[in-house]
């Protein structure tokens, strides 16, 4: 923990928040594909990808310094935000299996981080 600057953690937190909003835009854009494959060129998907690029920029800056055991699990915080947005924007059901699965995934990512230098 001591080897990880707070600034890196903040960068990862920002990256996870921005990335999760990108996921919402991707879902919105993906729904346009029901009109046909070439509707893949739509403004929502373009915005989603742009948002991902911004998130990627913060990610690369954040991962340069500090311990991956701390930084990796922080990226997967994005999964939690995305679950909330999916409930808010798309009225998706939050089932027990989704929470349990997500909790296990976060635990697993934490362990992967622990094992990374």
């Amino acid at each position: 923990m001591s080897g990880t600057p707070v600034s890196s953690m903040l960068l990862m937190l920002v990256a996870s928040l921005i990335g999760s909003s990108g996921a919402v835009l991707l879902k919105l854009g993906a729904m346009e594909l029901n009109k046909g494959f070439w509707h893949i060129l739509n403004i929502k998907l373009a915005a989603g990808v742009a948002v991902y690029l911004v998130s990627w920029y913060f990610f690369v800056l954040g991962i340069r310094h500090g311990e991956l055991s701390v930084l990796y699990p922080m990226v997967s915080l994005g999964y939690i935000w995305t679950l909330l947005w999916a409930r808010m924007f798309f009225k998706e059901a939050l089932t027990r299996e989704k929470f349990a699965g997500l909790a296990l995934i976060l635990l697993g990512v934490f362990f992967v981080g622990l094992g990374s230098k």
């Binding site: 854009g29 729904m31 690369v60 340069r64 699965g101 296990l104 995934i105 697993g108």
Partner: protein
């Protein structure tokens, strides 16, 4: 039995499995992207857009990310965001395995336990979709 109800069940099964398979492909490409980006980030002397834009491994990783994003979008067309998005964590599993082989990372108990737990988590999650 050829009742309409039985047909409906098998059809919806097919519809629900396809997005999961697409996300599966998305994680494999995403893992390859991360391996390239790891190479790129390691030799990023000066952070900044110009440094990143002229870094070939980073750019290759970005292209692979683009392809994996297309698969994710095709998955999201029919699937639930709250179900599919966490499945992307499988990327960690492939990255860990690829790192063992390509980057000659030492296997260690934490990583192996971690990827096992992620796999279990994804399979638990897979049972949580709308029926």
């Amino acid at each position: 039995m050829n009742s309409p109800a039985a047909n409906l069940t098998s059809e919806t099964d097919g519809v629900h499995r396809r997005p999961v398979l697409l996300v599966f492909g998305c994680t494999v490409l995403g893992a390859a992207a991360q391996i390239f980006m790891k190479f790129g980030a390691n030799r990023l002397a000066h952070p900044g857009l110009i440094g990143m834009a002229t870094n070939l491994p980073l750019l290759s990783g970005l292209v692979l990310y683009g392809l994996s994003t297309v698969l994710l979008v095709l998955a999201l067309k029919d699937g639930e965001l709250s179900l599919l998005y966490p499945v992307i964590a499988l990327t960690y599993v492939w990255v860990t395995l690829l790192s063992l082989v390509l980057l000659h990372d030492q296997p260690n108990p934490y990583k192996l336990a971690g990827i096992a737990i992620i796999v279990i988590g994804v399979s638990v999650l897979g049972r949580g979709g709308k029926r």
